[in-house]
Amino acid sequence: MTGEQIIFLAVALFTLGSGFMVVTTRNLIHAALWLISTLFGVAVVFAILNAGFLAVVQVVVYIGAIAILFIFAVMLTRKDMRDQGPQTNQNWWVGALIAVLVFGGLVFLLQGWNGLSKTAADIPSGFDAVAELGNELVSPAGYVLPFEVASVLLVAALVGAVYVAFNRK
């Protein structure tokens, strides 16, 4: 077992453990904090995959914006759901069963696929993945149209969120 594999296993266990705490903790503020550590674990997985830009965006957008938004939402809606009462509905075991079945089904499907033990080719020397990603995002032959559609979607979501949450009193 190489050093890289040991690092991956440690990060994967950390990520999954934090993710499990996100869905089981009673206190929602703690769940949001566990979400931050899960997102950090995923950022490290991106770094292991040589996707440096994704790792940075994960920290900036997910941890810097989305997790903070969650903490704000929990604090704004906290009153009725402190720590008393069950946090899961009566049918939680059906949800657990479905989740286990989905995981088992995915692993079963993956086992029958022959590309599974593939190892990554070395990145060619002089290849700058971030510059290439930037070129692809703005070149008409690449992905400029999905990029623009994403920006329109963000504007629409911004306006919609302000309209929905606006206090008309």
Binding site: F8, A96, F147, A150
Partner: protein, 102 residues
């Protein structure tokens, strides 16, 4: 070198954990937390297939960036809805929001 299957199994496990959270939690904010976990596991898959496929073809990373944008939009609108519902109905428990059910 880490084999591709490890990344895919990690993503599948994270997706299942998020699915469990979405299906079993009562609080609407906690349901959104589960959705975030599921979106993250999809991004792990996209990045892994980019790295283990043709590195010169950036489609996997571009798709992951679009998923980031969609996740940000989804969370902004979702939390705005939760706060608006909390203001009018004074609850964030998904079971109690049954005015469209008959």
């Amino acid at each position: 070198m880490v084999p591709l299957s490890w990344f895919l199994i990690l993503a599948a496990a994270l997706f299942s954990v998020g699915l469990f959270g979405v299906l079993s939690r009562r609080n609407a904010v906690a349901i959104l937390l589960g959705i975030e976990l599921m979106l993250n596991s999809v991004n792990i898959n996209l990045a892994a297939f980019w790295r283990y496929g043709n590195v010169l073809e950036m489609a996997g990373q571009v798709f992951a960036v679009i998923v980031f944008a969609v996740a940000a939009a989804e969370v902004a609108v979702g939390l705005a809805l939760v706060i608006s519902v909390y203001r009018t109905r004074n609850t964030v428990i998904a079971d109690d929001l049954d005015m469209m059910k008959w």
